[in-house]
Symmetry: C2
Subunit: 281 residues, 2 copies
């Protein structure tokens, strides 16, 4: 039985992504979903063998990177990306209130609050916004509290049998989130390759050199993201996505060159992307 | 009278940075602090002429960029950076509880919670973490609630006359935050230059070209940060810091070349850095 770790509790977008991943496998596996209470703990569970794969959010089209995923993957060397999954994200305002003007508090995951900020400023300018560990956790405190609302998926509202007061409320209609499926297995190869690297200290132009290696080989970088090393202000890790298969000789050669130019190169995986943001509603 | 906008209410680290900025001016100005309830609103107030300058956090040594600052500055074209200010950040656990084991809930700004996460997991593993709009806002609900604690500065504890239960609790002893002082005036020039740029769609290697312009001119890029354009997943803005004065002919020439290679180039300013992270405690 395939056990799939995700940020819980039940009803999160990560759980939806985990379900979608399981249903897109051929042949369809028997599977079990396992909810964990934070993204680092979800990834650590898979690194420790407590679950087979983790499905974790990497990036949202409006709010950008999910720092907890990048920072944890950098540290958990054995984990590699098996697949990327892009899902459309449509948020619902969920509350037992009869009308919007009863609502004093709106709670959700910080990314979901941020993705609805214009809607919230327009319709609930006086509401206090409270950030929770997950969209589902936000639902657990609103039953019988008409002054409170949560932002989560329609599926979560059904699961917790709570009414939807407004839908969709995300500011961007094209809101979608990219998830990575990771496990301790070597990645399968595919259309994308993801790397992370740290640079030797105080070398001027140190970042441009690895980027030039990619550019000279016509390897297109679709994304670069910096994160602090947490050693000192001004030192960064870089996360890079390439539109290329790491099993090709060009990428192999580029990785070898880049390794010589960096302090540490972390190969995160080479994998295919399943994009459901254009098909679903 | 110089009016200085910052994220409020009184007692935030942004207010501390605003005070520090005012005290480092020569001659010492008469000034007035003005607290606003979010970073975008703080910056919009200055763009609209309601305050003279804003002091806003840009980046923390542990948690990385402050997205709200970057995203808002990209949009508010008339604002330029006048100065950078690096302050040490030491967090206190503030509560009317007698002992740690009474505490059920810890609330603070999400960046402060993240900067203390190892301490919280060690000493308060069962506590619920609630994210607020600012560290000071977190203090306003804990009076007479020994089950609750807030994370904020020692100065904030004094201001609100609340007891400190533990100090310092930040995971990194070198925790510091960089602030930018912005106003609608042209920036003064100085040791650093900051840019933001968007790329034309779907051009392979589009990012490497502007970086090469910098590298060829031996202009050292100390930081690059990507943020989503919010148009569609996979499209980014890039924020770049250079260790060079924009008034120099080399930087002027580089900016002209980069402008031709990008969709939009936003000059954020050229300014000096006041680093207080090594002197204060």
């Amino acid at each position: 039985m395939l056990s799939i770790a995700h940020l819980g509790p039940a009803g999160t977008y990560a759980e939806m992504a985990a379900l979608t991943y399981a249903r897109h496998q051929a042949p369809a596996p028997e599977f079990q979903l396992r909810a964990f209470r934070s993204i680092p703990i979800t990834l650590q569970a898979v690194a420790a063998g407590e679950a087979d794969v983790a499905v974790v959010p990497v990036e949202n089209s409006v709010e950008g990177s999910v720092s907890a995923t990048l920072d944890t993957l950098w540290q958990l060397e054995p984990l590699q990306i098996q697949q990327a999954l892009i899902l459309p994200i449509a948020h619902a305002l969920i509350s037992t209130a009869e009308q919007l003007d009863q609502i004093r508090v709106v709670q959700s995951h910080p990314q979901a609050l941020a993705q609805c900020q214009t809607w919230l400023q327009t319709y609930l300018p006086q509401a206090q916004l409270i950030a929770m560990n997950s969209t589902s956790e936000a639902l657990q405190h609103i039953q019988d509290q008409p002054g409170m609302a949560a932002i989560a998926s329609r599926r979560a509202a059904e699961l917790y049998q709570l009414p939807i007061l407004a839908f969709p409320i995300n500011d961007s209609p094209e809101n979608c989130t990219r998830f990575w499926v990771v496990s301790p297995h070597p990645s399968p190869g595919g259309a994308m390759t993801s790397l992370a690297l740290s640079l030797r200290r105080n070398e001027p132009g140190a970042l441009v050199q690895p980027l030039q290696v990619l550019s000279e080989r016509h390897l297109n970088m679709s994304r670069i993201e910096s994160r602090p090393t947490k050693r000192s202000l001004g030192e960064y890790l870089f996360f890079i996505d390439l539109e290329a298969n790491a099993q090709s000789p060009e990428v192999q050669a580029a990785l070898k060159r880049i390794e010589a130019l960096t302090e540490h190169l972390r190969f995160l995986g080479s994998y295919d992307v399943v994009d459901l943001s254009r098909s679903a509603t």
